[in-house]
C-alpha cells in the first residue's frame, strides 16, 4: 500500500490555496489537506507542513478566476469557510474539475460535485444571513456597539461588508467567541482584532461597561417583542424552525424576562 500524503496548513484561505499549488507543482496523487488544528498523528502517512505563501495562493486563485464566474468564486470561498472536516478535499476535486474542463458549467446540478458545493455554500450563506439578523449590539460607555457571536461556520469575513455599509456612523465590534477574533469598525475601516485575555470580551465584562441607557433599551425591546405576540396564533414548531434554540443566546428578547 502506498503511503498517502497529508498536507497540513495554517487554516487560512491563502494557506489552503498554497496547498493546492503544491499539489499541482509536485503532482501529488490523492493528498489529504488538513488544518493544523484538525490533525492527529496518523501512521502510514507522509506529513508535509505547507508554508502559506501569498504569491502561490494568488497564482492558483488567478487561474481559478479565469475559468469561473463571480458566483462560483464566492461559493468556493463560502464552502472553505464552512470548516467542515474534509472540505478541503471536496474543494480540491472541484477545482480539478474546473481546471480540466475548458468551460466549467456551474449550473449542471446533476453533477454530484457541483451539487455538493452549491449545497454547502447555501448552508454557509444561511448562517451569514442569520448573523446579519441575530447580532445584537450593546452600547458600551466608550461608545462602541459590541456584539459577541459563535456561528456554526466562520462567517465573519462574509458579514463585514453588510455591517460596515449599514452602521457607517457608529463604532462597532463583532466578536466570534469560538474562533477568538473579531471585526472592529473604527468609523473609517474594519480591522481584525484579537484579545490577549478572553475575559475582556466576556459578557460579564461587557455588562460592566454598559452605557447608561443600554439596559433600558434592552428592556424596551423585550417589551416590544412580548407585545407583538399573538397568543391565539401560537405555533412553536414554526417558531423553532425560524430561530433554532442554539441562537437564543444572542437574542435579548429571548433571554431578558424582566
Amino acid at each position: 500500500m502506498n503511503p498517502q500524503t497529508i498536507l497540513v496548513y495554517d487554516g487560512s484561505f491563502d494557506g489552503f490555496l498554497s496547498c493546492i499549488f503544491i499539489v499541482y507543482d509536485q503532482k501529488i496523487k490523492n493528498p489529504i489537506i488538513r488544518k493544523a488544528s484538525q490533525t492527529n498523528n496518523q501512521m502510514f502517512m507522509i506529513v508535509e507542513h505547507i508554508v502559506t505563501e501569498e504569491h502561490k495562493a494568488h497564482r492558483v486563485w488567478k487561474g481559478f478566476k479565469e475559468k469561473t464566474n463571480a458566483t462560483q468564486q464566492r461559493d468556493f470561498f463560502k464552502v472553505f469557510l464552512s470548516e467542515i472536516k474534509g472540505v478541503e478535499n471536496t474543494l480540491l476535486n472541484y477545482m480539478r474539475h474546473v481546471f480540466e474542463k475548458t468551460h466549467a458549467p456551474s449550473t449542471d446540478f446533476s453533477n454530484k460535485n457541483i451539487l455538493k458545493i452549491t449545497q454547502v455554500a447555501k448552508m454557509v450563506q444561511r448562517e451569514k444571513h442569520r448573523m446579519e439578523a441575530f447580532v445584537r449590539f450593546q452600547l458600551t460607555n466608550d461608545n462602541v456597539y459590541v456584539a459577541t457571536v459563535a456561528p456554526d461556520f466562520n462567517v465573519l469575513p462574509l458579514i463585514s461588508h453588510h455591517f460596515k455599509d449599514r452602521y457607517a456612523d457608529q463604532k462597532w465590534l463583532i466578536y466570534d467567541t469560538t474562533r477568538k477574533y473579531g471585526l472592529y469598525y473604527n468609523l473609517s475601516s474594519v480591522e481584525i482584532i484579537t484579545f490577549e485575555n478572553s475575559n475582556t470580551i466576556s459578557s460579564k465584562n461587557i455588562e460592566k461597561h454598559y452605557n447608561g441607557q443600554e439596559r433600558d433599551f434592552q428592556k424596551l425591546w423585550s417589551t416590544y417583542y412580548r407585545s407583538v405576540n399573538i397568543t391565539s396564533r401560537k405555533n412553536t414548531k414554526l417558531h423553532l424552525q425560524h430561530i433554532p434554540k442554539r441562537y437564543w443566546k444572542y437574542l435579548i428578547e429571548k433571554t431578558n424576562n424582566s
Binding site: 458549467p105 449550473t107 449542471d108 446540478f109 446533476s110 453533477n111 451539487l115 444571513h129 446579519e132 439578523a133 441575530f134 447580532v135 445584537r136 449590539f137 450593546q138 452600547l139 456597539y145 456584539a147 453588510h162 455599509d165 449599514r166 452602521y167 457607517a168 456612523d169 457608529q170 441607557q213 433600558d216 433599551f217 428592556k219 424596551l220 425591546w221 417589551t223 416590544y224 417583542y225 412580548r226 407585545s227 407583538v228 405576540n229 399573538i230 397568543t231 391565539s232 396564533r233 401560537k234 405555533n235 412553536t236 414554526l238 417558531h239 424552525q241 425560524h242 430561530i243 437574542l251 428578547e253 429571548k254
Partner: protein, 420 residues
C-alpha cells in the same frame, strides 16, 4: 425621557398595531449616503420571530390608539374600553434610532388611530418620517400608513420620506364595509391609493428626464384585507385583491385571518378559531397568480367559489384539469413546468439549467429537490417508469394525500373530530 412611561406606551401601541400583518421591509432600495445611518438593500431581514412564527423586521407601532371612528373589527375603535396612549413625535424617532443602531430592526412601520381628523393625523406621521430622514440622516426602511381621507398634498409629501405607503382596505366587499364601519366611506380608502399610484408614475416619468428627481415611495404601496369576518367567499377576496393589484399597482396584498377581539353580533364570536389555513391557501393563490402565470378564473370561478383546504390550490387546479397531463420534463416550457404540483419556481429554473446537459430521470429530479411524491403523477421523464393508471381525480387526490404529510394534518384531525 421616563423609561417606565415609554415602556407602558410601547406595550399598548405595539399591541394595537400587531394585527397588521404586513411586515415586509423589502422592495425599496436606499443606499447609505454620506456615512449616515442605515441602508436598505432591497432584501428585508427578519431580526426575530414571534412565538406564532411571524417575522419581526420593523418596529411596528401606532402613534396613538385614540380614534374618532368605531369600526367593528378594530381593537382601537372608539367604543372599545381599552387603555389609550399616544407617543410624542420625538419618542418615536428615538426608539427607532436606538433599536436600529442595536441591529434589532430594519426600520419603522408607523400607523395610527385617527384623532381630530385625517389630515392632522397624517401630518404627524409624516413629521416622524421627515425627522428621521433629515435630522437623523436615517436610510433604513420607513413604512407609513396612509390615513383614509388624507389630502392629496399630504400623500405627496408622505411618499418623499417613506419607502412604502399602505391603506388597509380591511373588508374585501363594499357591503361588508358598510356593515362593519358605517361611518367610513369606500372612497376614502380609494382616494389615497389613487394619489399614491399617480405620484409614483409621475415621479418615475420625471426621473427618466431629470436624474435628480427625488424618489417617491420606492417600495410602492400595499394593502391588507381581513378574512373571515363577514362571510365573504375566497372568490370575493381574490377578485378584490386582483382588482387592487391591477388598478393601483399594489406591490402586495396581505390577507389576515380575523382574530375575534371583542363581542359584536355582526362578527364571529370570541373564541372562534383564527382561519390560518384559509389564510395560507389565499397566499398560495396570490403567488400562483403573481408568479406562476395562473389567471384568477382558472383557480376561482362560479363553480369553484372557495379554495380546498385539504390540498393546495395548484394541486386542486391540476386535479380539475387532468387532461393536460402528463407533461414531459425534458421538453416542456417554463410556463408549463411551473404548473406541475410539487414543482416550485426555483425547481423550474434548475430543471431548465440541468436538462441542457443531459436528459433528466427520476434520480436527477430528486437531487434537484422536486417533491416527486406529488409530481410523479403529472410528469414523464427519461425513464420507463411513470405513472400510467387512469385514476379519477378523487382517487388520485386521496392517493397523494396519503403519501404526503401536510403540516396541517393535525389541524384536520382536530377539525374532523369536531364533526364525528
Amino acid at each position: 425621557m421616563s423609561f417606565d412611561r415609554i415602556r407602558e406606551k410601547l406595550s399598548i401601541l405595539a399591541d394595537a398595531a400587531k394585527y397588521d400583518v404586513s411586515c415586509a421591509s423589502s422592495g425599496g432600495k436606499r443606499a447609505n449616503t454620506q456615512k449616515g445611518l442605515g441602508n436598505n438593500t432591497g432584501m428585508g431581514i427578519c431580526h426575530t420571530y414571534t412565538e406564532d412564527g411571524r417575522c419581526v423586521s420593523l418596529l411596528k407601532i401606532l402613534l396613538t390608539n385614540h380614534c374618532i371612528y368605531d369600526c367593528a373589527y378594530c381593537v382601537t375603535r372608539k367604543s372599545n374600553d381599552i387603555k389609550r396612549a399616544a407617543f410624542k413625535i420625538q419618542e418615536v424617532v428615538d426608539l427607532t434610532i436606538n433599536f436600529y443602531r442595536r441591529n434589532y430592526i430594519e426600520g419603522l412601520f408607523l400607523s395610527s388611530g385617527i384623532f381630530k381628523n385625517s389630515d392632522y393625523t397624517m401630518e404627524r406621521l409624516i413629521t416622524v418620517a421627515k425627522k428621521l430622514r433629515l435630522e437623523e440622516n436615517f436610510n433604513g426602511y420607513i413604512h407609513l400608513k396612509s390615513i383614509p381621507g388624507a389630502s392629496d398634498e399630504l400623500m405627496r409629501q408622505a411618499g418623499l420620506y417613506a419607502d412604502r405607503l399602505s391603506v388597509n382596505i380591511e373588508i374585501p366587499t363594499v357591503s361588508g364595509l358598510k356593515l362593519l364601519a358605517p361611518d367610513k366611506k369606500h372612497e376614502d380608502f380609494i382616494k389615497p391609493m389613487q394619489k399614491v399610484k399617480n405620484e409614483i408614475i409621475q415621479y418615475k416619468t420625471e426621473k427618466k428626464i431629470i436624474k435628480s428627481t427625488p424618489r417617491y415611495a420606492p417600495a410602492g404601496q400595499s394593502t391588507q384585507m381581513i378574512i373571515g369576518a363577514t362571510g365573504e367567499s375566497d372568490k370575493d377576496i381574490m377578485y378584490s385583491a386582483t382588482y387592487y393589484y391591477k388598478k393601483f399597482n399594489m406591490r402586495r396584498v396581505y390577507y389576515s385571518g380575523y382574530i375575534p377581539v371583542m363581542p359584536d353580533n355582526r362578527l364571529p364570536s370570541i373564541g372562534t378559531e383564527v382561519p390560518t389555513l384559509r389564510e395560507n391557501r389565499l397566499y398560495q393563490t396570490d403567488w400562483l397568480i403573481r408568479f406562476y402565470g395562473f389567471s384568477i378564473a382558472e383557480i376561482l370561478n362560479t363553480t369553484h367559489k372557495n379554495l380546498d383546504l385539504d390540498i393546495d390550490p395548484k394541486l386542486s387546479w391540476a386535479l380539475r384539469n387532468l387532461q393536460l397531463f402528463p407533461i414531459d420534463i425534458n421538453t416542456a416550457d417554463k410556463r408549463t413546468l411551473a404548473r406541475v404540483p410539487g414543482i416550485g419556481m426555483a425547481s423550474v429554473s434548475k430543471i431548465v439549467q440541468a436538462r441542457k446537459f443531459r436528459r433528466l430521470d427520476w434520480s436527477h429530479l430528486k437531487a434537484i429537490g422536486i417533491a416527486t411524491n406529488r409530481a410523479q403523477y403529472f410528469i414523464t421523464c427519461n425513464s420507463k417508469d411513470f405513472y400510467s393508471k387512469d385514476l379519477t381525480p378523487i382517487m388520485l387526490k386521496n392517493k397523494i394525500l396519503k403519501s404526503t404529510k401536510s403540516k396541517y394534518s393535525n389541524y384536520f384531525n382536530q377539525q374532523l373530530s369536531l364533526f364525528s
